[in-house]
Symmetry: C2
Subunit: 192 residues, 2 copies
Amino acid sequence: MEVILSRKEQIEQTATALFKNRGFSATSMRDLANQLGIEAASIYSHIKSKEEILQRVCFRMANEFFEAIDQADVRNASASERLQAAIIAHVKVLTKNTEASAVFLHEWRHLSEPHHAEFLALRNRYEVHFREIIREGIKAGEFKVPDEKFAVLTILSALNWIHTWYKPEGKMNAEEIATNLATMLLNGLKQT
Amino acid sequence: MEVILSRKEQIEQTATALFKNRGFSATSMRDLANQLGIEAASIYSHIKSKEEILQRVCFRMANEFFEAIDQADVRNASASERLQAAIIAHVKVLTKNTEASAVFLHEWRHLSEPHHAEFLALRNRYEVHFREIIREGIKAGEFKVPDEKFAVLTILSALNWIHTWYKPEGKMNAEEIATNLATMLLNGLKQT
DNA sequence: AAAATTTGCTAACGAACGTTAGGTTGTTTA
DNA sequence: TAAACAACCTAACGTTCGTTAGCAAATTTT
């Protein structure tokens, strides 16, 4: 299943790996060019600026995360089931592309305005989705939690370091990781 | 309780705030100087290099984390109690200085060798401490967890984003946050 | 009062940075 | 076959970077 990438996509992919490993600011266009085997100036035949790459990665991943939890959301289900589905969907996106996920999670702060503000608004909307499930679960007596925002941030935090250690060839596959995390975190919410 | 700081400590503190907010690479010595109200060159009367600041912050925090879990460790206690104590100790260090914690957690990768390798060794040793508690808990039947490394990383991940939202004047104080997180995470480990 | 230390300055260095201009080559389209 | 395009080059631009040299003033120590 060999996917053929356009030059622009190659550049984006290579840049993503560098942004993850060294950070956006510590990655120079000459580093990127070197990795691609061309001159730095040549990159500008395909992209407009260094930040354009960052923008494309950040907003593409934001879309992927939204689509994933939207598709996974099962209406008319209990809060526990809905939260489990959202967690699994989130983890699947994270593990499908750990490099782009790392950039999405850590490098967005180097976006300039108005992209920076737009990104934060999206991220907040994403968290609201989780917050609503938690609130529903509290009302239904499924969850016992001191603060819903606190709970959401803790859950997402626990999930969002997967990219630092996940390897597709590791002993746990994405599905197992997702369900293990989901049951562990759900148990944590049901404290008596 | 006004603490008088030496100029060197002032520089380190101001730099730490900038490193947290913009990242090490995106913070220039001229930014730092500007914040201090002096010229960039003047900073070099007090420090040897930009990286020296990063080194001091990273290794000072590493020490603080080690001391905290060492002091909190209660021998002859159950694994649950030991883990709870370690989590609370960890959270207290995190909340006592969120800026230095953020640098410790995210900016260490900009250390040059051999400091980079030394730092990673320390961090690994720290994780081993938690891993041993988890293993003890599994053997004693207190915890049911698929993989001890997995559990430790999940716990630390859940804790290590506190610095992004914690405010001393917020509605939860450090103690409450620590115990809430500890009970939530401990419950997660006791899944049936 | 002399010596030492602290704290800062101006000026400048060489290197690295993101990016642009203008040109060449090979491939695809009309 | 001509025109258009894709992909890359060399050369260079203006800027910013971390840092050094050398000096001046104030403060502290001896």
